[in-house]
Amino acid sequence: MEERLDEIEQKVRGVIENVLQVKDREIARETTIADLGGDSLSALGILSALEQEFDIDIPDEEAIKISSFGAAVDVVRSCMDRQP
């Protein structure tokens, strides 16, 4: 069973679903972009969409960490903390 998602997690999930065009898939923290059928170019798309959704700039050193749903959430949170 999936845990309840907070608002940020829901938005990140929405972004990933939208970019990868997947629906109703089980997405856990560990689920990777590759698990959902994405590749390195889709990862770039997800990055860009996250920057738009949360109005943040994700620096390269954070960007490379985004391989899973959980990592994406963590990066978004840390970027939002730094850019109030």
Binding site: D39, S40, L41, L44, L47, S48, D57, P59, D60, A63
Partner: protein, 415 residues
């Protein structure tokens, strides 16, 4: 030489406009001495961009080469191409009379061609409205605008076309020109590349691709090919043009000869839009060696693609190790992009010119900003300081987005 019945192809003129010099002497002085042309971008607003640096040509004056009316009808990439062609023709001492004009063809490589003019037209349409779109936008932007304008400006009536294979464009252009002459489909070819990619959308798009260096604090030290702390390419503008002709034609007019193009090979990765592919890079080099009829041991110098992206430099190193075996460790390899930046579809021509000048001067340009050894890039990259060496055959390779690989071999000319 192989036994194939083919004509020999020589280089009799070279010209370039680059961020490190707009004449051959200044250019060579810069690349031999490790002088960088990378600066903070001034021509467009980069305040919102992660990357704020590029190799710009600050001293380019199109009026030195073109009439005011012509300038208005040419995108910057075309202006750069005509300027470099003028310099190459002057260098070749080719007398352009009516008898010669129909013997000259033009192949120009460009990755993004008239993108500056395209962006201006888009802005005019979306911001100001349809009445404001420049009626000359189509001929400014088209990919053959460079080649066609070279023909119009100098009166050449041979074949003329543009080649667009991203960062391999100029190498493919020169290779295809070489093959035409070799196989008897042309006598004299003007070939090379030109790109002027520093425009708001193009720069922003590269920024979003996260392929460019963000070492904005020290622009001259930003581009670090093969160094472990490399963080991406530095975009540049520029043009390099060469005059290729059959040996018979060159000898008949007592032309000075820089070198002989002896091999060309090109492959396609069929793999990934941006990630390089070792297998097809290897095959491109092997095809080039076979075309020239030489062995890996005959190569004295490699001017690498060396973009300073993590992926390119690692895969290119693996490629060189596979093709050259043990000898890979003793062939000097340099990335002149460390100084010039990456002028996309012009880079292959500028780098071939650098290779030819290296052979001529008996001196190998360095890879500057090499700071931290990378265990995955463990060859001799001529770090930071150039060196004296007698070179007879040089290889110049270009690997473009989309997976296009192109390689040229050039041999020093001995009179």
């Amino acid at each position: 030489m192989s036994e194939k019945n083919r004509r020999r192809v020589v280089v009799t003129g070279m010209g370039l406009i680059t961020p490190v010099g707009s004449d051959m002497e200044t250019f060579w002085d810069s690349v031999a001495n490790g002088v960088s042309g990378v600066r903070l971008v001034t021509s467009i607003d980069t305040s919102a961009s992660r990357t704020k640096i590029a190799g710009q040509i600050e001293d380019f004056d199109p009026e030195k080469y073109l009439e005011p009316k012509e300038i208005k009808r040419m995108d910057r990439f075309t202006q750069l191409a005509i300027a470099a062609t003028s310099l190459a023709l002057q260098d070749s001492n080719l007398k352009i009379d009516d008898g010669i004009k129909e013997k000259v063809g033009v192949i120009l490589g460009s990755a993004v061609a008239g993108i500056i003019s395209h962006e201006i037209a888009a802005k005019d349409l979306f911001v100001r409205g349809h009445r404001y779109v420049n009626p000359l936008t189509v001929p400014l932007v088209m990919f053959n605008a460079g080649a066609s304008n070279i023909c119009m400006h100098f009166g050449f009536t041979g074949t003329s076309f543009g080649i667009s294979t991203a960062c391999a464009s100029a190498t493919n252009a020169i290779g295809e020109a070489y093959q035409r002459i070799k196989n008897g489909y042309g006598e004299i070819m003007v070939a090379g590349g030109s790109d002027a990619p520093i425009s708001p959308v193009c720069f922003s798009a590269w920024n979003k691709l996260r392929a460019m260096s963000t070492n904005n604090g020290e622009p001259e030290r930003a581009c670090k090919p093969f160094s472990k702390d490399r963080d991406g390419l530095v975009m540049a503008e520029g043009s390099g043009m060469l005059i290729l002709e059959s040996l018979d034609s060159a000898v008949a007019r007592s032309a000075g000869i820089y070198g002989e193009i002896i091999g060309y090979g090109s492959t396609s990765d069929a793999f990934h839009l941006t990630y390089p592919n070792k297998e097809q890079e290897i095959r491109a080099i092997e095809l080039t060696l076979a075309d020239a009829g030489v062995n890996p041991d005959d190569i004295d110098y490699i001017n690498a693609h060396g973009t300073a992206t993590t992926a390119n430099d690692k895969v290119e190193t693996e490629t060189i190790k596979t093709v050259f075996g043990k000898r890979a460790y003793s062939i000097p390899i340099s990335s002149t992009k460390s100084m010039i930046g990456h002028s996309l579809g012009a880079s292959g021509a500028i780098e071939l010119i650098a290779s030819i000048l290296a052979m001529r001067n008996g001196f190998i340009p360095p890879t500057i900003n090499y700071e931290i050894p990378d265990p995955e890039c463990d060859l001799d990259y001529v770090p930071n300081v150039g060196r004296r060496a007698e070179l007879s055959i040089a290889m110049s390779s270009s690997f473009g987005f989309g997976g296009t690989n192109a390689v040229l071999l050039v041999k020093k000319w001995k009179d």
